[in-house]
Amino acid sequence: MAERDNRLEPNSAYASALKPKSKENRFLANMRKHWMLYVMILPGIVYYLVFKYLPLAGSVIAFQDYQIFKGMQGSDWVGLKNFLYIFSYQDFYTVLRNTATIALYQLVFGFPAPIILALLFNEVRLMLAKRIVQSLFYLPHFLSWVVVGGIVFELLSSQGVINMVRGWLGLETILFMQEQRYFRSIVVISAIWKDVGWGTIIYLAAIAGINPNLYEAAVMDGANRWKQTLHITLPTMFPTILVLFLLNIGNFLELGFDQIYNLLTPMTYSVGDIIETYVYRAGVLQGQYSVTTAIGLFQSVIGFALLWIFNRMARRTEQGLW
């Protein structure tokens, strides 16, 4: 514990050396001393300005009746009309509720999964086994959702494994994909299956950074594996967990079109129709770029508000993203 705090403290030696001087002097002294830092970040800043902020300014089309042929200059300004159009959509609240529900499930079940898996990997003593199993877990990440969707449909079909087992047990066949009560679980489980191995990589890197001496000392103190995990492994992973959590929160309402689109059937619309599938129908297929952008802005504003709140909370104990 003490060690971690130490690391996060500002560099006291330098802070005190700079303190007595006036604000401007302090600024100049800092610049002189750390000018390299300011040069280093320049390429990054240019990148963000050019490739992110410049195109982002194009989001104003959310407040226009954007006509591609006329361009941004030639299109009329319509104020909040596009937002009103979205909010007046009769199924908007269903769509929003579905999105938020699935997002919450993903956060509660999907987010901790790679953390737990990384800890389980950490308990594997046989090096070779560990490496092989890790490499296998990472495979499904390379399958596209079209392929995974096909696998899920097949697995849950009447001839699929699950129904085969049910058959042996004398149970009736269930067509899982056309019953809405299973839809959300299928989404969450398939997402975990596909990306949990990939997600562990980052935590494994964090665990790899742990000093083996710490474990040895803990063993001397009589700590068992569980205690070691609790008091050494997890705390070391914590900054990474927190950062990933915050980034997740920021994109809360973005579930990923590909997955849902490939698992959705008309029978599960009422629970599985989400913002992205609505955007696809209303924006992309109808070529309404203003509407698409307006929905995107709406999602982002919500995400940003959530991130702001959680980041403040995070700053109380640890450190936030900014």
Binding site: Y47, L120, A129, Q134, L136, L139, G209, P212
Partner: protein, 289 residues
Amino acid sequence: MKQTYGGKLFQLFNYLFLIAAAATMLMPLLQLLAVSFSSPIAADSKEVFLLPVEFTTASWAHVLQNEGLWLSFGITVYITIAGTLISMLFSVLTAYPLSHKDFLFRKPIMLGIIITMIFNAPMIPFFLTVRELGLMNSLWALILPGVIGTFNMIIIRTFFMGIPKELDDSARIDGCSDAGILFRIYLPLSKPVMATVSLFYAVGYWNTFSRAVLFIRDPEKWPLQMKLRAYLTSPEELAAVNLILGDYDFNTTTLKAATILFATIPIILVYPYLQKYFVKGSMLGSLKE
């Protein structure tokens, strides 16, 4: 080390669980592999499970002779290597000042960057920007517009922030500049995260697709994923022979399977290679000797 009874039981279950789960993850690729080595009729009738039915190497022979595929392969290898190197450089250079307590604009810049993660630019303005830069049809269009993955950069930053500041101090006393500290102390200590982020970038570049669709018009510059997509949507062209005319030991289904694997296996092999960096405790080991 002695193990309790409970510990042993846990170990057993842990192994069983991990092996069972890993098996499910291997299966889809095994099946693709089996299909790619099966006869067309068996493949189309979905008879193939994990082993080839009526084994034949015809599909693979045909795919490996496809020059267009190798050309795209070369392009993808090129952008993967070049892109990963450039991205790592840009990301480290950005992450280091942002992890540094003495860097004055740390917070506002960080906030500015995070905003770009949450607010996405609409496609048309993004397209126009890249086009105005003259990057159309250039491989740079596949690298520069995403040269810093914000997520990756933040991961690096988080790691840098975890490095004890005493190391900075002692290095500074030894006469190191900020750049010196970054390259002599931070980077060697961050091997696991460098390996991780390089992997993330490499996989990202390997799977380059949507940007290529927007910016690359010249088919000779198509990366592998785009070529793959071309074949998956109109697989007759992959056959490049008139399937009506003769009997062949492959058809579009088996060729598709072989092509997907051709485009996937190389990048999958990168991970086991990088794994060694995750195994050793390489960071703090150097601190306390």
